[in-house]
């Protein structure tokens, strides 16, 4: 039974990897005041680009670069529409998801139904993997990107909260007018964060098609992009909290398969969303109205002199 806990943790780590990468990206995007509902679209474009390039070159890491580039390019589209042209960010994000799902399917026709020749192999973390009981189960065979996601969360947390760069991003998201007045290039920063978010979603998609399930299938992200969006919010826009949130989401997902004789799996899979609402409510009640850390200017395109 003790093993069961560690097994759940190990699977939660693996399953939460794509969620974490994509959510970290979205956290940075939303911290700068932009909402991108196109995570699912960017993720799946990353998945097909990664797969196609890895299959062609034989190197999954080159594939990962392609996945990042594809995610970033897709995000650039959103940046142009939602930030530069100040179109509606929600429609732009939704359009990006629809477009991404369609385009990836179209490109993917040539790649469907074939396994990846050289997939990313899981690794054993030296030292930690030889711990008794926990070691082999938790540290024995995870992907590099799983540990990479945790590291990325730490780095982003430091950047966001303890560097000038982070302060700039947060200011742009909290009060773009003030940032502008202070001489910060608001739009340029937002474009960069949106593209960064796309690159991170690309990593998430690449992980799926290169490591988690090394093959291409149409619609293989299967809603994970939307979960990542929920996750960014559930984590209250904090990269470190995102790690725990991702693990919790991952645990619920895997438990839906190990506890299903005791509990309806649909209701277990529903929990993360319910928890997100509860987390927001609880934080608001505890800290007072609206004080749960949502970037003040979230979702509002910025133009000087407008509100």
């Amino acid at each position: 039974m003790d093993d069961q806990v560690w097994i759940t943790l190990a699977r939660a780590l693996a399953f939460s990897t794509p969620l974490l990468w994509a959510a970290l990206g979205e956290i940075i995007v939303e911290r700068s005041g932009v909402v991108n509902l196109g995570v699912e679209g960017m993720m799946i474009l990353g998945a097909i680009a990664g797969f196609a390039v890895a299959q062609t070159t034989g190197d999954p890491w080159v594939g990962l670069l392609a996945a990042m580039a594809a995610g970033g390019a897709a995000a650039l589209l959103h940046a142009v529409f939602a930030v530069l042209l100040r179109s509606d960010p929600y429609v732009s994000g939704l359009a990006l998801t629809i477009f991404g799902l369609g385009l990836s399917g179209l490109i993917g026709r040539a790649w469907v139904g074939r396994p990846l020749q050289n997939a990313m192999e899981p690794i054993s973390l030296p030292g930690l993997a030889s711990l008794p009981v926990v070691g082999e189960i938790v540290f024995g065979r995870q992907h590099i990107l799983t540990w990479g996601g945790l590291l990325a969360a730490l780095i982003l947390w430091v950047l966001l909260h303890h560097t000038r760069l982070g302060l700039i991003v947060r200011t742009v998201g909290e009060n773009p007018a003030a940032a502008d007045a202070a001489g910060l290039p608001v739009l340029r920063i937002r474009i960069l964060t949106v593209v960064f978010g796309g690159v991170m979603a690309g990593v998430a998609g690449g992980f799926l098609s290169l490591a988690y399930r090394p093959s291409w299938g149409q619609g293989m992200t299967n809603g994970l992009g939307w979960i990542a969006l929920a996750l960014a919010i559930f984590a209250l826009w904090d990269p470190l909290r995102a790690v725990f949130a991702a693990l919790l989401f991952g645990a619920f997902f895997t438990l839906a398969y190990s506890l299903q004789s005791q509990f309806p799996p649909q209701l277990l899979t529903m929990m993360p969303y319910l928890f997100t609402i509860l987390a927001l409510t609880f934080t608001a009640v505890r800290k007072g109205r609206g004080a749960f850390g949502a970037p003040e200017a979230l979702g509002r395109p910025y133009a000087r002199g407008e509100r």
């Binding site: 190990a10 699977r11 399953f15 299938g217 839906a256 190990s258 004789s261």
Partner: protein, 383 residues
């Protein structure tokens, strides 16, 4: 090629262009993209074989990724394009097909895996329970722990029947074998399949079977060197070393038989009310194999030949020979050998079929009980 196709379409729509030797136009409707592995892919392979078999006598088209509620407008469009026979391959198309059929009394409809017919609607099914039974035998022969795993899509009769057959097969080889079942409540769910497979392997399962529309279970099991089975079509490419055998479906056998009878004039749009295909190993509509023609993958033949069991009826026999014995008898006919021939009890000890009773197709398609050895949640189980 497509240009030609469009030109043909255009010609077909011209009045007076329809000469007497017009090919029979047969349209297939798939619920998912045709190229992906899984249910629709199996039908697409069959369509290509139908095309090759009939040559100029039949022209086939397909529409892929049609959501269940959209089948009716899809039928309208296909009829407008001149389809003579429309084959809806998914259970969920039933409402739409039965609603559209009276509107187009001259068009012949097929409802794959369906149960309700009409003068111009027939039903058909190529059922895999017999190959699943043989897969269960192979699984038990390969397992060290006696714990087998099954990733299952939905708790419908068809899937329950397959799990039961798999479990009964395993128990013929190893009376103590158990089959752990995890439900996805989804036909297409790679992430769910991955996690369900991982969870079972972590709990000691060392052979995996599944009903889901991707090769994910095979790929996941391969990471742990756990044997698995091709589902619908050959999935050997996804893990050449670990796919031991499988259950393959040859929908074209049914399609060719039916369409030949349409061409002959045996079947018309007003005599289909009793036409129901439920075809099995004996009809060659399904097949045991990791890939067509390979019943058991080479690497697994020897281990199975070296594993001996004490069989109550056949004495000391290798698992390999036992599988082949059961296989050949089922190919000879349901009356020669059937895994569900009574006496059969369920896992709660109730007698399901009394001694000597051979369940009818109707019994099998409404099956709800769980075989002894099945472990896990079971919807709507008789107590």
């Amino acid at each position: 090629m497509r240009r030609l196709f469009i030109a043909l379409l255009f010609l077909a729509s011209l009045p007076f262009a329809s000469a007497q030797d017009d090919p029979l136009k047969v349209a297939f409707i798939y619920v998912s993209p045709a190229g992906d592995y899984g249910f629709s892919y199996a039908h697409e392979l069959a369509r290509q074989k139908v095309d090759a078999h009939f040559g100029d006598a039949i022209e086939t088209v397909f529409v892929e990724a049609v959501p269940e509620p959209d089948v009716e407008p899809t039928i309208d469009q296909l009829v407008a394009d001149g389809a003579d026979v429309i084959l809806g391959t998914s259970f969920g198309y039933g409402d739409g097909i039965l609603a559209a059929a009276p509107r187009y009394p001259d068009v012949i409809f097929g409802w794959g895996t369906g149960y309700q017919r009409a003068p111009n609607v027939f039903t058909y099914m190529a059922d895999l329970y017999q190959p699943y039974y043989l897969n269960g035998m192979i699984a038990a022969g390969l397992s060290e722990t006696g714990q087998l795993g099954y990733v299952a899509a939905f708790p419908i009769s068809e899937v329950k029947r397959h799990i039961n057959a798999f479990t009964l097969g395993a128990r013929e080889v190893n009376p103590d074998a158990t089959v752990d079942v995890r439900w996805l409540f989804n036909w297409f769910d790679p992430a769910g399949t991955k996690e369900a497979t991982e969870a079972m392997i972590a709990e000691g399962v060392d052979v995996i079977a599944f009903t889901e529309d991707t090769p994910t279970a095979i790929q996941t099991a391969a990471e742990y060197d756990v044997p698995s089975f091709s589902h619908y079509a050959s999935m050997v490419e996804f893990s050449p070393e670990t796919v031991a055998s499988g259950h393959l479906v040859n929908w074209e056998v049914i399609y060719i038989d039916f369409l030949q009878k349409v061409l002959d004039g045996t079947y018309t749009s007003d005599n289909l009310s009793d036409v129901d295909y439920f075809w099995l190993l004996e009809d060659d509509a399904v097949e045991l194999g990791s890939e067509p023609g390979v019943k058991i993958a080479d690497a697994f033949v020897e281990p199975l030949q070296n594993t001996m069991v004490d069989h109550p009826e056949l004495g000391s026999i290798s698992v390999y020979d036992l599988v082949m014995d059961r296989h050949d008898k089922m190919v000879a006919g349901r009356d020669v050998y059937d895994p569900f021939l009574g006496p059969v009890v369920d896992r709660n000890g109730n007698e399901v079929y009394e001694a000597g009773y051979l369940p009818t197709i109707g019994d099998l398609t409404s099956l709800e009980w769980a075989a002894p050895g099945v472990v896990g949640a079971w919807d709507n189980e008789p107590q």
